[in-house]
Structure formats: structure tokens, C-alpha cells
């Protein structure tokens, strides 16, 4: 790149830069609008002004008093934490088997892993529901079957996801085989090698998976919608919709935006803290398709 007194190589690069600035502004406006609306008083809602005349912080406490928000937040946290742990551990184990172990049928089964990625979720949705409706929960969370408990949202995570297995396998194949071999000579078991050598070296890929499955579980809507029927078991996503219904026809947008902002906040914080893993993960994702 040419370096002069200007950071731009040419006039057209400056125009392109202006283009990026406008796109960035357009992309940020909705978020800004959300914050602005959340702090407005009802009278100001119809007056498309950017900055509220008076910051109505009380919107947050009002909105939070109309619903079991703390209960729903707790539910979301429980489901998310367990699904992330399950997803990361099981996907890593399975990826290890496909990347670093030799066993009969391995390549055939890996082909099946890839094939399941193309299966539309809706084909499985109904039979899975029927299975869970038949599995006994013995009164867990007050339910006779797995339906209307957290189990259908957590247990499948412990069997891994084809996509994460694929992503981790690609990564683990890059860890030098010599490390495993020398550990084996020193008498390490396969579980030892997996846990103490390959897992620590796969941290960037594991972080990516943890983050994506966190986002996936936190924002999942269809799963909770199908499986959670009683209000006390709702997640935040279902709670938000419940809150909108409770407003009966005309939602108070300032309240709705206030709680929506709070529901989004955890993912936003995680993104800002770990954006490197988001961005690297996405890039690997795309290349997986090549």
C-alpha cells in the first residue's frame, strides 16, 4: 500500500471509505433507536426524536414488574449453561474420534455426520416431539413426560452437533500427531491425551463453538415454544412474547424496547468481549463449505 500524507491510496478509496462509514451508521441506527426508545416517555414515542428529553430510567423497572422476568432469566441461564457444556464436551470428544483415532467405519460415519448437516430441522421436529412426549420424566419439573421440562432442550446438546463436530475435527487435525505419539510412549491413555494435550491446544476452536452454542441456546425460540408450556418454565425469548401479549393489542414500545434490550444484553457483552472468536469462527465456517 502506498503511504503518503493521506491514509487513502486514491480518491476512490476515500469514497469507498465514506461508503463504509455510511453503512456502519445504517447498521448501528437500529440499536441506537432501541436504546433511545427504551428511555422515552410515552408522550415522546410518536415524535421521532433521537435523544429523549428526559431519560425515563423507570421504564426498565416498570417493564420488569410485569412478568416473571427473574424466573425466566434463571430458566434461560440454566438451559444455556447446560447446553453449552454438553455441546462443547460431546462435540470435542466426537471430533477427537474422527480427527485423531483410527477405527473401522470411521470415514463412512463421518460422511453421515456431513450428510446430517443438510437435513432440514423440520423433518425431525415432529417425531422428536412425539419421542419426548413418550419419555417419562417421573414428575421432574412437575411433568409426567419430557414435554414441559427443560430436558428436550438440554439432553440433545450432549450428543454434539454435526456442524461443530466438523469444525473441531478440521481444527484437531492440525494439532501435530507427534505430540500424541510421544505422550503414548510415556504411557498416557487416550483420554489423557485428549484432555491434557489436544483439548488445551484446541482452545480457539472450542471458544468459537462455546460462543456460537451460547448464542444459539440463548436465542432459541422454536425449541422452547414447542416444549415449554407452563409460564413458570418459559425462557426469556418466550417471556418477551408473553409480555407483548399481556399489553393486549397495543404494546408500550418504550417498555418493550427496555426489556428487549435487557434480553439482548448478555449476547452483546459476550460478543464485545470475545469478538475475535466470533469473527474467526465465521470465517472457518465459510471455508468449511468450499
Amino acid at each position: 500500500m502506498r503511504r503518503g500524507y493521506s491514509p487513502f491510496a486514491s480518491f476512490w478509496h476515500f469514497v469507498a471509505w465514506l461508503g463504509l462509514v455510511s453503512i456502519s451508521v445504517l447498521f448501528l441506527v437500529p440499536l441506537f433507536w432501541m436504546i433511545s426508545t427504551a428511555l422515552k416517555e410515552p408522550a415522546e414515542l410518536m415524535r421521532n426524536n433521537w435523544i429523549p428529553q428526559h431519560f425515563a430510567w423507570e421504564n426498565f423497572s416498570y417493564a420488569l414488574s410485569y412478568g416473571m422476568w427473574f424466573r425466566w432469566a434463571f430458566n434461560s441461564v440454566v438451559i444455556t449453561v447446560f447446553s453449552v457444556i454438553g455441546m462443547v464436551l460431546s462435540s470435542a470428544m466426537v471430533a477427537y474420534a474422527f480427527a485423531r483415532l483410527k477405527w473401522p467405519g470411521r470415514d463412512f460415519l463421518f460422511g453421515i455426520v456431513l450428510a446430517t448437516m443438510m437435513m432440514p430441522g423440520v423433518v425431525l421436529m415432529i417425531p422428536q416431539f412425539i419421542i419426548f412426549a413418550r419419555l417419562p420424566a417421573f414428575g421432574f419439573q412437575g411433568s409426567a413426560s419430557w414435554v414441559n421440562t427443560f430436558l428436550p432442550l438440554i439432553v440433545p446438546a450432549f450428543t454434539g452437533s454435526a456442524f461443530y463436530i466438523f469444525l473441531l475435527r478440521q481444527f484437531m487435525r492440525g494439532v501435530p500427531m507427534e505430540l500424541s505419539e510421544s505422550a503414548k510412549i510415556d504411557g498416557a491413555s487416550e483420554l489423557n491425551i485428549f484432555w491434557n494435550i489436544v483439548m488445551p491446544l484446541s482452545k480457539p476452536a472450542l471458544a468459537t463453538i462455546a460462543i456460537f452454542s451460547f448464542q444459539g441456546a440463548w436465542q432459541d425460540f422454536m425449541g422452547p415454544l414447542i416444549y415449554l408450556q407452563s409460564e413458570r418454565l418459559y425462557t426469556l425469548q418466550l417471556g418477551l412474547r408473553q409480555f407483548e401479549f399481556a399489553a393486549g393489542g397495543a404494546p408500550a414500545w418504550n417498555w418493550l424496547m427496555a426489556v428487549s434490550l435487557l434480553v439482548m444484553l448478555p449476547v452483546l457483552v459476550v460478543f464485545l468481549a470475545f469478538q475475535r472468536y466470533f469473527i474467526e469462527g465465521i470465517s472457518i465456517t465459510g471455508m468449511g463449505g468450499r
Partner: protein
């Protein structure tokens, strides 16, 4: 290409025939492999393979979960294809989204990625901002867009500035789907980053060689960038189409907004997408055609076949426009 995930060479140990016979070590090795893969093997059997077979069987029956399934043969399929106007409406809406949304998303993502690849100051910041909406999804983001696209909301106020009277978006049957397209162009961050990664993988030497031959900016884009990106474009088109065929959440929430009956599928059924209709048939109220698991399973299999067919056609067409570097193989 440099960006491709390089697979480390598999260690090819060709075992001599004599050692092929049973050995304890080989057995243990195989067993370890299966034990590590066990979570997926169980998951595949219980949550994929069995459900698939079960769903196929259910699709030939009448089944409301409470009673026993009753064999119907092909009746569900016949009824869906020949007697179900809601099915046709859902198909029409879904194809509309696939056809309109895909090119817009691809072109917008490519444009932004090319701008990001110019090594301009602040590239990292731009990248973060463009990806940011992707983490702001879920129900909360849908509410936000309903608010922005309200008849006298922010978006229409912006249009007014340039002298355009904005439509009523999510309350006008003709504008609900365009509203969804506007919404989804906020979520193109992932596609942009995927394009950007493959742009960075195009060898500089190609451009330098073209410059020596006197190629201009446009010619370089047309004859180097686009062909080199075509595998990525193909991947993005295929995944975006598969994703759009299964659109559900946004339509479901907007159609059910303000206490409206979800079974109606939004204003004038304009948001009744395929999976949305399928959901109503499987999990909706009994009076509104719900709890028909057999019928819904048949709908699911028809969608599966449509997606397979569309993907297959794309794979065939890909030969004409997707450029793969041959590795001399």
C-alpha cells in the same frame, strides 16, 4: 487457495497382510474410537435416524398423538397437493422470499466485503459493526424491527426525508414480505465475513499479472475476483436458500403480534410460510387444523424433497459458473 482449511496429510499406514488377523491392540484401538464417538452415535440413532423413519411412517397415517396412528396410505400427500389452498399459499410465500431475498443478500454482502478488503483505515471497527446485528437476533430484534417499520416509525420517517411515502409494512399484506427482506438485510454480517475471508485468499499475483496486461478495476473484479469467489458464492447461495425455505420465527412473531390469531398467517395470509404452516398443523389449536401429526409429517417430507430438488439443480448448474482451482487431480 490459501484460505482453504488445509487438511493435514492423513498418515497412511498400510498394514502388512500378515498383521490383519485379530490383535488385542487393534481391537482396543477400534473400541476407543467408538467410545469417543459414542455421544454422536447415540444422538444420531435416537434424535436423527429413528425420527426420520418414524416421521416417514407417520406421514402415511392420521395421528393426533393421543390415539393410535391410523394408516392412510398416500391420502395425506394427495390432500396436500390437490386439495390444500393453504399449502399453495405457503409455498408461494416461501418461494417469493427465496427468490427475492437471496440475490439481495448476496449482492449486498459481496459489495460490503469488497469495500472491507480495500485495506482502509478502521477496517476492524467496520467489520465488528457489520457483524454486530448477527448477535442481536431473537425475539427482541424482531420487536425492534416491528417498531422501526411501524407505519409512522423511524424507517418511514427516513423515507419521507427523500420524499417517499412509506408503506404500512407489517400491517399491509402487500408489504409484509418486503418488510422481512429489509429486516434480513440487517443480518448479513456472517455472509460478509465469509466473503471477506475468501477475498483475502485470492493470490495478489493474479491481480499483478492482470495489471501488467492493462486490466482496469472493473475488469479485475469481473475476471479475477468474481470467478475466484464463485465457490464461496455457491456455498452462500445454497445455505441461504436452505435457510430461507425454513423461515419461521420472524413470521410467527409478526403474524401473532397485537393479539392476532397465529392460524391466520399474518395480514391476508401474507406471512404464512411453509414451516409456519407446518407448525400450525402440528402444534396449533385443534379447531384450526392443529395436532395433525401425520399431515404435518407429510408436509415436512414434501419440504425436504423440494429443498433436495432445488439444491440438486444448483449443483448441476454450478458446473457452468463455479470455478474450482484444480489441484492437478
Amino acid at each position: 487457495m490459501a484460505t482453504r482449511v488445509t487438511e493435514s496429510q492423513p498418515v497412511l499406514t498400510v498394514a502388512p497382510k500378515a498383521r490383519r488377523k485379530f490383535s488385542r491392540r487393534r481391537f482396543n484401538q477400534g473400541l476407543t474410537g467408538y467410545l469417543f464417538a459414542l455421544p454422536w452415535l447415540i444422538g444420531f440413532a435416537v434424535f436423527t435416524l429413528w425420527p426420520m423413519l418414524y416421521s416417514l411412517y407417520t406421514s402415511f397415517t392420521r395421528y393426533n398423538i393421543i390415539g393410535e396412528p391410523r394408516w392412510l396410505g398416500l391420502r395425506n400427500y394427495e390432500n396436500i397437493i390437490f386439495n390444500d389452498s393453504m399449502f399453495l399459499k405457503a409455498l408461494e410465500n416461501t418461494f417469493w422470499m427465496v427468490i427475492v431475498k437471496t440475490p439481495i443478500v448476496i449482492v449486498a454482502a459481496l459489495t460490503i466485503a469488497i469495500l472491507l478488503n480495500l485495506n482502509l483505515p478502521g477496517e476492524r471497527g467496520f467489520r465488528t459493526i457489520v457483524y454486530l446485528p448477527n448477535v442481536l437476533s431473537g425475539v427482541a430484534a424482531i420487536f425492534l424491527w416491528q417498531w422501526i417499520l411501524a407505519p409512522n416509525g423511524l424507517f418511514n420517517a427516513g423515507l419521507e426525508l427523500i420524499g417517499v411515502r412509506g408503506p404500512a409494512w407489517f400491517t399491509d399484506p402487500a408489504w409484509t414480505k418486503p418488510g422481512l427482506v429489509v429486516m434480513s438485510s440487517w443480518w448479513i454480517g456472517a455472509q460478509v465475513l465469509i466473503y471477506l475471508a475468501s477475498l483475502k485468499g485470492i493470490p495478489k499475483s493474479l491481480y499483478e499479472a492482470a495489471e501488467i496486461d492493462g486490466a482496469t478495476g472493473w475488469a479485475k473484479t469481473r475476471y479475477i475476483t468474481l470467478p475466484m469467489l464463485s465457490p464461496t458464492t455457491f456455498f452462500l447461495v445454497v445455505t441461504s436458500i436452505i435457510g430461507t425455505f425454513q423461515i419461521f420465527e420472524t413470521a410467527f412473531i409478526i403474524a401473532g403480534a397485537a393479539g392476532r390469531d397465529i392460524a391466520l398467517g399474518g395480514p391476508g395470509q401474507s406471512l404464512l410460510f411453509y414451516v409456519f404452516y407446518l407448525y400450525n398443523r402440528a402444534f396449533g389449536k385443534v379447531g384450526a387444523g392443529g395436532l395433525q401429526m401425520g399431515y404435518a409429517s407429510a408436509l415436512a417430507w414434501i419440504l425436504f424433497l423440494i429443498i433436495m430438488a432445488v439444491t440438486l439443480v444448483q449443483l448441476l448448474l454450478a458446473k457452468r459458473w463455479v470455478y474450482y482451482e484444480t489441484d492437478g487431480r
